[in-house]
């Protein structure tokens, strides 16, 4: 059963995996980011969102933001020593482990996500059904409810969302074919200890990215 969600926001950052230190965004939202937005609204272990299409309603525009960031992450071994009563857990001192990193982000984005979900029978309880999940999602999206607030790629860029109103098709921002090259499709989590990135050849046709027939490669 398909769902259609309209999402918009001031900024977005769908980081290209090959440009992660000085982050550079993809031109449009990746299917994995769209899935993340849907999961922020409703998710269940036995439910897998499949993104079908992403309609790009606003022109693609970029902006640059440079920020001070810390260059280190928390070390578990130091935490363990602290839990055992030794040391301070290796607190991160912002002034000593600072880096200035720039991000090339998208401005003023608006998309319509077409998606459906598939069920994994083994993880459902007897009274779970597709109809039940569908109505839960529709109810939440209509009321603006969410598990956590969804975001465009990174948490500082919140997503405003609503169900696509009306019966007319969303109209993309341009009338042409635009090749986007290889884009991240999603991660393959079947082996949870070694998630594998998957890529596909992305294109916008009249402002719409169709993922249904995408050939996904790892």
């Amino acid at each position: 059963m398909p769902i259609r969600l309209e999402v918009w926001g001031d900024y977005a950052l769908f980081t290209r995996p090959e440009m992660k230190t000085e982050r550079v965004t993809y031109d449009v939202m990746t299917p994995s980011a769209a899935r993340g937005i849907l999961e922020a609204i409703f998710w269940h272990p036995g439910l897998h969102w499949r993104v079908d299409r992403i309609h790009v309603l606003n022109p693609i525009r970029f902006d640059n933001i440079r920020r001070n960031e810390v260059d280190s992450i928390i070390s578990t071994s130091k935490i363990r020593s602290m839990a055992e009563g030794r040391g301070d857990g290796g607190a991160i001192y912002a002034s000593e482990s600072i880096q200035q990193r720039s991000s090339t982000v998208l401005r003023d984005v608006r998309y319509v996500i077409d998606a459906h979900f598939e069920l994994e029978r083994g993880k459902l309880s007897p009274n779970d059904s597709a109809a039940k999940f569908q109505s839960i999602f529709m109810r939440r999206a209509a009321k603006g409810q969410c598990f956590h607030h969804p975001y465009f790629g990174t948490r500082e860029f919140p997503v405003d969302f609503r169900l696509w109103a009306g019966s007319d098709e969303p109209v993309g921002f341009e009338r042409r074919h635009r090749d986007l090259g290889y884009m991240l499709y999603d991660f393959d989590y079947r082996d949870p200890f070694h998630p594998k990135p998957l890529f596909f050849r992305a294109a916008l046709d009249d402002g719409v990215m169709d993922v249904t027939s995408a050939e996904v490669r790892s």
Binding site: E84, P158, D160, R162
Partner: protein
Amino acid sequence: MTERTPIENRYDFTILFDVENGNPNGDPDSGNMPRVDIETGNGLVTDVCIKRKIRDYVQLAMDERFPWRIYIQNRRTLNRLDAEALETEGIKSVGNKDLAKEIKAMKKNDPELDRRLRDYMCENFFDIRTFGAVMTTFVKGNLACGQVRGPVQLGFARSIDPIDVQEISITRIAVTTEADAAEKNNTMGNKFIVPYGLYRMNGYVSAKLAQNVTGFCNEDLEMLWRAILNMFEFDRSAARGNMAVRKLYVFKHGSALGDAPSWKLFDAIDVRRRDDVAVARSFGDYDIKVDESVIPSSVTVDELVDHEL
């Protein structure tokens, strides 16, 4: 101390803060000029700038006491290093008394260990409980354990009107190097100021992440509001000018998932320059209207004020 149970309601909030003759957040790409959205001329303040202020306030106010420790610190207070020894004494007795023993008994490649350490971190450190953190993990290659997503999420702050950035040239009488002293008797410097800017920042608190991940509780929430209201009171500096939090509006939903889209709630707060004011130079030049009619009855909106200061 109140019962430390995770929060049960979703919150959305709006902060209005202003700057007078100061630079609220410099842009490293433009020689520390105040951040400006080039297309609109509106001023920007990043989420991480405000998070830093919140961390600093909590560190200052709670003095590194359990459970208010701050993990990502500004090394400002020297005496906190002296206090560390005392803290480790305190840690042994808090929370899970057998944690150290259990950790020792655990095998190295046990995913549960990561989870326990995560819980331990959340229990001890306010900033991790609130904003989340990224940790290395013992379990190789496992991405999921090392990320703690905190319940509190902030967007960028944006000024209501386009800001006017002014560069002020200043002189100083002292000269740094001997070589300079031989040639000149003073040096010029410059600083950027925004004569006046009123900024708005929206934020979100997820009850579900609080319940499922970090245990962020009502006491933490009170601390967050307190920190926001006071975040500029202890952040004075030559660069900042006069900064103040003017309003903090908190929308409390009747449920954990929420009862209304955040954007509808934020739209209910209308901030605009008064018609008779050509150029805003003070907070009084703005009118703020809260349209209660678009807010569902199950959502309460509160204007928080701080009674401490």
